[in-house]
């Protein structure tokens, strides 16, 4: 072989090597199972995070008004769909940290859910009151369902959750109704409606098995349950009079219900206007305990291993967290991470929890066994924290 030939082969080989290095630099493969996002409510941005090493990877901007923003995840875990207050629905690529699609789908909205098969998104809207459904690939609208209640008026929609059987279930705040929407055939949606669901349902949850829908009521002392396995049995009112005749306190922040409420047969629920977390037995819906806590709970979230419930509180006590031990149903820990605790999110197996401190401009990560703080990361007025591991759970 000539010297030139050898040289040429060497150059080709080096060029190939260089190309491989460059390519791998651009497209390092990684999964999204440990990714998530933190909503920065005031700046209309989210930060992408990873919870294996507790770092923030980068910021995604231009998402509009993110007060009360929530997110759901595509079932491949790659995309987050962020629901903004201003009706914005944004599709964010967690890997490239880009907004890949965005629509303004309504004037004022409160959240949404992704269907059982991952193909449809449903958004709960205040203005115009109703539910709109979008294709997850294109964000094209597939269905517009005004929440026209029995009283002939449009109602604000709250507590929208995904449910088995390619369904969505939600409540009508103004009208006190619960609707179950079956979109197995999106061109022929089926809606079942229940009136008399109680006064001012403010939020809802679906149990992790997808069986029960619970609506929290602001206007009365109690909650409403729909058995999604037996919708023909209708609604059932539970925990009636849980305030035990004590005057309801003014509510400076509405509690939130989420699918993290269940541990075994027990369901943990924030009382409205009372300093208590309520515990009911899923088998008969009787009250098992009424756990006194520091203030009015906002979130009562069960750690993924079902051993603890973490509770945060409404203004002006939103600087405190309490932890309830489930075997004894007692508060075992109270601490004050800082001002404006908005949300908590457990890692998928629950060894750590992320906490957003809105008024401190940071998020913190705690071990859930020792309660030791293991990370503190800067974020601008952070509120919701959502991990991609939610992609594979019902009712989140």
């Amino acid at each position: 072989m000539s010297v030139t030939g050898k040289k040429w082969r060497m150059i080709t080989w080096m060029a190939t090597l260089l190309a491989m290095v460059l390519l791998s630099g651009c497209t390092t493969l990684r999964g999204t199972g440990d990714l998530g996002l933190v909503v920065e409510r005031a700046s209309g941005s989210v930060q992408v995070l990873e919870n294996s090493h507790n770092t923030l990877l980068g910021s995604v901007t231009g998402l509009g008004d993110l007060s009360h923003a929530t997110a759901v995840f595509s079932r491949d875990g790659r995309y987050a769909f962020v629901f903004g207050r201003d009706g914005g629905l944004s599709k964010v690529d967690l890997l490239t940290m880009q907004v890949v699609n965005r629509v303004i789908q309504a004037g004022n909205s409160i959240g949404g859910a992704i269907s059982q098969d991952g193909r449809l998104l449903a958004v709960a809207n205040y203005t115009p009151g109703g539910v709109r459904i979008f294709d997850t690939e294109t964000l094209q609208m597939k269905l517009d369902l005004p929440a026209l209640a029995a009283d002939g008026k449009l109602s604000k929609v709250v507590g929208l959750e995904d449910a088995p059987g390619q369904s969505f279930v939600f409540s009508l705040f103004d009208a006190g109704e619960i609707w179950l929407l079956d979109v197995r055939d999106i061109n022929q949606p089926k809606v079942q409606k229940w009136t008399q669901a109680g006064l001012q349902p403010y939020d809802g949850l679906v149990t992790p098995d997808g069986r029960y829908y619970l609506a929290g009521l602001f206007g009365e002392d109690g909650m409403t349950v729909l058995d999604l396995w037996h919708p023909e049995k209708g609604l059932r009112r539970i925990l009636q009079g849980y305030g035990r005749g004590e005057a309801k306190l003014p509510v400076y922040k509405m509690p939130h219900l989420e699918g993290w409420a269940v541990a075994g047969n027990l369901v943990f629920l924030p009382a409205v206007g009372h300093h208590a977390v309520l515990v009911a037995d899923l088998q008969n819906w009787q009250e098992v305990a009424h756990i006194p806590v520091h203030s009015q709970p906002v979130f009562a979230m069960v750690r993924p291993d079902n051993r603890q419930v973490w509770v945060n509180f409404a203004f002006p006590d939103n600087d405190t967290l309490q932890v309830i031990d489930i075997p004894t149903l007692k508060v075992i820990k109270a601490f004050r991470p800082g001002k404006g605790i908005m949300h908590m999110e457990f890692t998928a197996k629950g060894e750590e929890v992320w906490i957003s401190l809105r008024d401190e401009d940071r998020v913190e990560v705690y071990r859930t066994d020792t309660f030791e703080r293991v990370a503190a990361l800067p974020a601008s007025a952070p509120s919701g924290i959502f991990f991609a591991s939610r992609a594979h759970r019902m009712g989140l």
């Binding site: 008004d65 007060s67 705040f173």
Partner: protein, 84 residues
């Protein structure tokens, strides 16, 4: 009123009133609080609502956290359009 207190009040307005009325006060579970939405509503009426709340709706009383002067100042800001 000191300017640091004014900043606290604006923070409270956006963040805590904002949990029901929206961060930009464009409305949520509670009604919008933009200047155009409040047009024609008497100042005293708005002050009373903030101080004493509307118990049958979800509006809580703020009198334990805000004094008369502070509520008056906030209402002035709302009426001149503090929202974006």
């Amino acid at each position: 009123m000191e300017s640091s207190r004014q900043q606290e009040l604006l923070h409270l307005l956006r963040q805590d009133c904002g949990s029901c009325h929206g961060l930009r006060l464009l409305g949520g579970l509670g009604p919008p609080l933009t200047a155009s939405a409040l047009q024609g509503k008497p100042k005293e009426y708005l002050q009373q609502i903030i101080l004493h709340g509307v118990p049958e709706q979800a509006m809580p009383p703020w009198k334990g956290f805000l004094n008369q002067e502070e509520v008056g100042w906030l209402v002035d800001r709302l009426l001149e359009g503090v929202a974006e």
